[in-house]
Subunit: 702 residues, 2 copies
């Protein structure tokens, strides 16, 4: 049907059986090992250590367990991680950690391939609970609690979200009111909606918690702060007086984690349990903070917890890679229908639609992976203190808010498409697509709802735009754009670079002439973001003269296009990351193939938004029609390299663990084909009735 083999010759891989010869011996070859090393990125050593652990049966998810058994198993696995020194990299050297922030995340996110519940429960314990003590607390807190948190002596909760408030953290209703007479805070849940909810470790394991509450002292509410609260008696595991809760029960996935609800009835904690790095209360009740603005203080505190988003971004990419490896390998072996021959059936991966389904997602996975590496680098730069200005922190947050929604949605989409591409087999839990998809479902919600995050990105873009065009009236933005200190430099995650690029290269229309070229793609993708933001800004102009209600209504009428603009921006960041990564590829064959893949990513984005380019005169009708054709040609070019491209992800059978990816399908196909071949050779095969009828008809006519 298509004239390719599964691997170009000379790659060390045995080519899959095919009746078709290689027609172009000059075609490039991917250096799988070198590409694999590049994909491992800066924290390759940690990743490999973590993959070694993730490949061990002790850490694998056992499917079909009850949620109680699964919870118990994952709790035990956390101890295994401690015993194997896998989870303390981010903590201070003084306490046995290694102050390695980027490496810590790289290691965590690889655990998703063992069991997403393990990744997330470990993330709750050390990434959220432990990190909150580390980043929001001060040395006394570190000395007191971090050792027990690190050793798992104190399993704990990160009690921020409430039943009534998830996305809008500033509005949580739990209070911590200071009483100078006893030098205590009273932590209190005023009504049902203020129960903490969806809290990992809350249903069973949590002995302690970092509880987020409105800090009230001397009659003033200083906003959300974090407090260390003991939850349960370590001996009896019973709730301490004043504390109650509920089990969240079975969930759509991640059932190895005991999520639950917590409520507090006038629970007294010592003054010193306030994690006081960004806000403190003196014994007499005087509040003080190194950050004067309550808004900026709140966002600074939340900003220290950005690593959750970073690690979800990386884990989503890892899960996508594992799924694609399984689905592409299966598609290269599985045969169905024999349109092109009487005897041989087609390999699924030779069908155009199948290529579209898998290769476009493969391209996006590469883009998301390279973008994640940049995010991780940025995260490490900030948290190591290498480049830790306000602007750097804002850039980090914008980048995380932009990339996490795209990669988590992409993982769900990829897992589902791979599931469907493997047919009924894809639905069997032994092939893991459905299991991973169920577990990753909530990645689109926690650590920041994807839609809400994209809205944050949109607000940043509007703010950047407003800064650039100060003459324009952007009063309304002040109400929506929070935490944007004036005068800060605008860095690469924001809009400025986009505008800069436009100034550098002149008209988009001109650049777009070669939409297959890097510059053409960049111009089109960049221009779309720029123009969408400018249009939204223009539509919102003058809204500061409206009442708060009418201003909000105006903003709401443009909400959809703002979120679309943010997504376009995030896609551009992914495309730029892919393009930058191409520069680091030295092997010419690999570079050629990866460039096709980057082009496929870029053109898929342009195709998805083709109506915008047409409506806005960026592409002519005629040029628009070439996009789909060019994508189809890229699919054919990429086809011989598909196995190399998924093998370069570096995941072994112990990580993929899918029956469809074991080569069993090829053995079955070979056995079936050998059976029919032998039957034909024996001359004893039953004659097909259709053939018989054709012969009879031919006899009549001759």
């Amino acid at each position: 049907m298509t004239e390719v083999v599964d691997r170009p010759a000379g790659k060390g891989h045995k080519p899959a059986t095919t009746a078709h010869p290689v027609t172009d011996h000059a075609q490039p070859a991917v250096n799988v090992d070198a590409l694999g090393r590049q994909l491992l990125g800066k924290w390759a050593a940690v990743r490999l250590q973590s993959r070694d652990l993730a490949g061990r049966p002790e850490l694998h998810k056992i499917e079909g367990m009850t949620h109680s058994d699964h919870r118990a198993r994952v709790s035990g696995q956390l101890k295994y991680l401690v015993d194997n020194s896998a989870v303390h990299r981010a903590f201070p050297s003084a306490l046995g950690g290694s102050d390695d922030h980027g490496g810590n995340i790289a290691g965590f996110e690889e655990l998703v391939v063992a069991d997403p519940s393990l990744q997330i429960k470990a993330g709750v314990q050390w990434g959220l609970f432990g990190s909150a003590v580390m980043h929001l607390g001060t040395e006394e807190h570190h000395t007191k609690w971090l050792p027990g948190i690190m050793s798992l002596e104190i399993p704990g909760c990160f009690a921020m979200t409430e039943t009534g408030h998830g996305s809008d953290v500033a509005s949580i209703a739990t209070t911590a009111t200071y009483h100078p007479e006893t030098e205590e805070f009273v932590v209190h849940t005023p009504f049902r909606a203020a129960w903490k909810d969806y809290i990992g470790n809350a249903a069973i394991d949590g002995l302690g918690a970092v509880v987020f509450a409105q800090l009230i002292t001397r009659g003033v509410n200083h906003g959300v702060h974090a407090f260390y609260v003991d939850l349960r008696d370590p001996r009896t595991k019973e709730f301490l007086p004043g504390i109650g809760g509920e089990d969240d029960g079975v969930k759509g996935g991640l059932n190895g984690i005991d999520n639950g609800r917590l409520h507090f009835t006038n629970v007294r904690i010592p003054r010193t349990n306030l994690l006081n790095r960004y806000g403190d209360v003196a014994p007499d009740g005087t509040y003080s903070s190194p950050i004067a603005s309550p808004g900026r203080r709140f966002f600074t505190m939340l900003g220290t917890l950005v690593q959750g988003r970073v690690s979800l971004d990386g884990a989503a990419v890892a899960a996508s890679k594992v799924a694609l490896k399984a689905a592409v390998h299966y598609a290269a072996e599985r045969r169905q229908f024999n349109a092109s021959s009487h005897t041989d059936e087609e390999v699924l991966l030779d069908y155009q639609r199948h290529q579209r389904r898998l290769f476009t997602r493969l391209a996006t996975t590469y883009a998301a992976g390279f973008a994640h590496e940049q995010l991780l680098q940025k995260f490490d730069d900030v948290f190591s203190g290498a480049t830790d200005t306000d602007a750097d922190r804002q850039d980090l947050e914008t980048l995380a808010a932009a990339l996490k929604p795209l990669s988590t949605w992409h993982a769900l989409d990829t897992l589902q498409e791979c599931r469907e591409a493997c047919g009924g087999a894809g639905f069997l839990i032994e092939n893991r697509f459905a299991s991973l998809r169920a577990d990753l479902d909530v990645y689109a919600t926690f650590e920041g709802d994807n839609t809400v995050l994209l809205q944050l990105v949109a607000k940043r873009l509007l703010a950047d735009y407003a800064k650039e065009f100060r003459s324009v009236d952007f009063g309304v933005l002040a109400r929506y754009v929070v935490g944007q200190a004036t005068g800060t430099a605008i860095h690469r995650t924001g809009l400025r670079q986009v505008a800069q690029f436009m100034a550098d290269t002149g008209s988009v229309q001109k650049a777009a002439i070669a939409l297959r070229d890097e510059e053409g793609q960049r111009a089109l993708l960049t221009d779309r973001v720029q123009t969408m933001v400018a249009e939204a800004a223009s539509a919102l102009k003058g809204s500061n003269r409206l009442s708060q209600e009418k201003g909000a209504a105006l903003f709401n009428r443009h909400q959809n296009e703002l979120i679309d603009a943010a997504q376009a921006h995030a896609e551009l960041l992914q495309w730029e990351a892919f393009t930058e990564a191409l520069r680091d590829v030295t092997d010419p064959g690999t570079k050629t193939v990866l460039t096709w893949l980057r082009d496929l990513f870029g053109l898929s984005l342009i195709e998805k938004n083709l109506s915008w380019y047409l409506m806005n005169g960026r592409l002519s009708m005629q040029r628009g029609r070439t996009v789909g054709e060019y994508i189809n040609r890229l699919l054919v070019k990429i086809r011989p390299h598909a196995l190399d491209l998924v093998d370069a992800f570096g995941y072994g059978d112990e990580h993929v663990r899918a029956a469809v990816a074991t080569g069993a399908e090829k053995i079955r196909q070979d056995e079936a084909r050998a059976h029919f071949r032998a039957q034909r050779a024996s001359g004893k095969a039953a004659v097909d009735e259709k053939v018989l009828l054709a012969r009879t008809a031919a006899g009549r006519h001759s």
Copy 2:
């Protein structure tokens, strides 16, 4: 933020609390009861009976069970259905059925809201196993086996799919070879890929099976036929000699069904176990059939099993309705962020993006529901014998192949969007989105893989096109378009009507002037199908002069666009069904609101494919830009009627069974708001630090 209430005044429903007055008292109101009656359709009585059953706790899915317990529970529920006379409607009156084919499906598909495993396991027993005996067997078989199948004395399997062949049923490899000396067929599995796989009831419960195998007699293979085979000893439940199998294990969902594998080693069955309605073997081995063409015979046999697709289509719509009812009710109560006021937070359903997410899917659900009712009617017409020509059967199959992919994908998309729209709560299994989504996942694959079905539709469209333009060279089509008897009338599910419409109304460009009007939408949607098919046909022209291999390669290069054309056709059929249903609405307010919803559906389709309309000169750039704006206006118009529109689905709390849809959120919100109101009134509320700072700043400046 937006000036609406949740319900227009005077509708009997208590309006949700809102600070905003109704600004337009002349706005239409939906007659929920009348609309609900219309949505119940022709088989309203059966649907209501089935919903009564589906609302009973005995039939509800219990979440968190092991798959073994779940299987046992669902097996017991099947007996409950028998005891409640719920599942025999399609069977002959003589045997205690009621020859009611449409009603039978209507009843079955409602069971999905109790537990999709129950729907599907019942479907396996009576819809597949029982139907195969009924439709492929003759009276002797009916008398012998149907009573036991109906009473569940013989739980059984529909053993068609093999590990090696799912979509391409004609190529299954199990053989049934006739031996005249013993008057027996020998059923045999020649290799591993020929094991029956994914077969419901095979792992545990199945005592009998209808096994599909290549019928070989006198050295000729007459193609796939169905054979009745006893699988297990009814007493010991052990496999009979020569039969073996495996459990498919845990699946991504539907774990109440015991799917498994089966293989046969020279299993001898009596000659009379051939279900011989469409093909028989005489004692001496002579084959005979009322259908001379082996191809047509095969498709006739498979065609009798179309009801599986029909019922999946209906069940997918039912699940979408339940999910939307829950998510829309929650969104009308849930509040988050307070952009428009210092004291009150916004209701989620007032956010533009949230409306986009839910209302576009609500519109599609209505469209899919009306289209399903037409499909069910067509099914009943054919199977009752009212209009049962070859052309009618082909139309029925095309319609089912077109609608089932769209509705099942739509259900998955809707369940996921509703899940995400409810945030973390959506992920709790108590809210059922994740559970339903997991169970419905495989609806996209079984009873015909969605992609493969759309390809069948595309081939039908090409065949219709070829018939209409006979002068054109369509030799290649003969190879791909199967079962298209020449000279048959082309009915409404095919392309002819499209062309006819175009001829009737003249140029599309002219009609498109009013894209908000029915005729404008129809012209645009119809023209796209017509043009895409014509373009594909033109691209394939002359392929019959190519070798089989090159012809297949040419076809493959256009596979993606052919599938897109089929989807466009299916969407048009949904749109037409919605539009036809509007004619039956008598209440003017209901008609107005439903027309907005139909417009939202039509314009969403046009928006999704806007690049096509622009590239092909069907819409100007300027007009293209109005599509999104008009959709946004429709969202605002529909907003006040959203609760009525989901309530009209007629599902009660016993069907929805989602904590988010119980009104608990409103109680929590009211309690929280009352708390803060009382606090403000008391004068004892803590002052917000931000307010304090603003006051201080004002004091300094004054």
